[in-house]
């Protein structure tokens, strides 16, 4: 796993209170990891904080799996 993926995983485990082995690339935050709509908003905020990047709302809507987040951040984070 890349450095970005490790950091994403850590945030997801902490915010959603899930086991680390559940946080796989194709895990959907809502369907697989028990997040609700507010959790997903906060997750995006946590990614912004960790990677010092702004994620616009239309981009945030496309981040629904762990892999989506990793790909977006690998491409956009400094």
């Amino acid at each position: 796993m890349s450095d970005v993926a490790d950091r994403v995983k850590k945030i997801v485990v902490e915010h959603l209170g899930v086991e680390a082995d559940k946080v796989v690339e194709n895990a959907n935050f809502i369907d697989d990891l028990g997040a609700d709509s507010l959790d997903t908003v906060e997750l995006v905020m946590a990614f912004e904080e960790e990677f010092n990047v702004e994620i616009p709302d239309d981009a945030a809507e496309t981040i629904v799996t762990v892999g989506d987040a990793v790909r977006f951040l690998e491409k956009n984070a400094a």
Partner: protein, 420 residues
Amino acid sequence: MRRVVVTGLGMVTPLGSGVDATWSRLVEGQSGAGKITDFQVDDLACQIACQIPRGDGTNGTFNADDWMEPKEQRKVDPFIVYAMAASTQALRDSGWEPKTYEEQCATGVLIGSGIGGIGGIYEASATLIERGPRRISPFFIPGRLINLAGGYVSIEHGLKGPNHAVVTACSTGSHAIGDAARLIALGDADVMVAGGTESPVNRLSIAGFAACRALSTGYNDTPEKASRPYDKDRDGFVMGEGAGIVVLEEYEHAKARGATIYAEVIGYGLSGDAYHITSPSEDGDGAYRCMAAALKRAAIAVSEIDYVNAHGTSTPLGDELELKAVERIMGNAAGKLSMSSTKSAIGHLLGAAGAVEAIFSILAMRDGIIPPTINLDNPSVETAIDLVPKQAKRKQVNVALSNSFGFGGTNASLILRRVS
């Protein structure tokens, strides 16, 4: 009207987590006050508070993780965590676990708070100013709203009946229990989880209450001596944090399932001072009328009251006004009455105070022990009423009255009777 009884008790207080830990320390005359160490106080007039002893959950300490998942705790102010702890304790104590849809719909929640999430509002305000609106969490609002204490409790335990909250400053806990009892009496619910919760020990709250000149400021080096209701050297209240929750139940419902019945709620009175935003009315009229209303509802003689758990916050004005109102209502029966202020030990839990103190009144009945008014060295006035100075007292208590009075001139009295 249907009869309403108390079948479960739960609390988190500055003397400990749980009814047993708190009550044993209260009866021993311990104080929950100490120096505030978790935020800056050197520029505050008041530097002390009664704070919940935190730890791993053993020996009466409070371990939040025992009551709410860490990921949920992160989203809410502590008043919601305290309510979750005390509610779970009370429901376990009552043995009531609503499982069927009908049972769930017949079980409601009425938990109030005086101020709710003031600590979180303070922090989020700083975030907004320093870092802008995009850094405000989606959990900011739902984690601060007062009725979210009841919201979380209802979700945790599947309680689908009335879901209500009271906000009447320092009378909140008493109003919550009284109003919930009425919902049961009128048939809106068979069981109610009711009480108050508060987490006001933060820099903004202390600064605000100090500005009202409500807090003790002369005992920063001897915090355990600061809360001293009726004593001539009292100089204000000591802020406390925690929650008190009871399970209220329709009498036949409780009897049918063989529940332990602690007490019956026989009287509930309310009144308004219509006088001043923070000061009690000078003649104690509001306090008198709310006790009188509770007595009328209870349909008992004043001489039947064995114990009053006073509002008694340790403020110069309030203590004596309440005492005079109690003397007036008791008349010739004042000489056999015991009245103590347990705020001497746990401080003033604001919106949780009335609920915690109703539970103390119930425990006094259960054990035949009246908790003391600690630090009462020299009463500021003479009275025929026994103020239970410094040491707990053995006395059979069949009927107890608990008073709460709040900013805005809002008053509530509860009368509880032992069920034989």
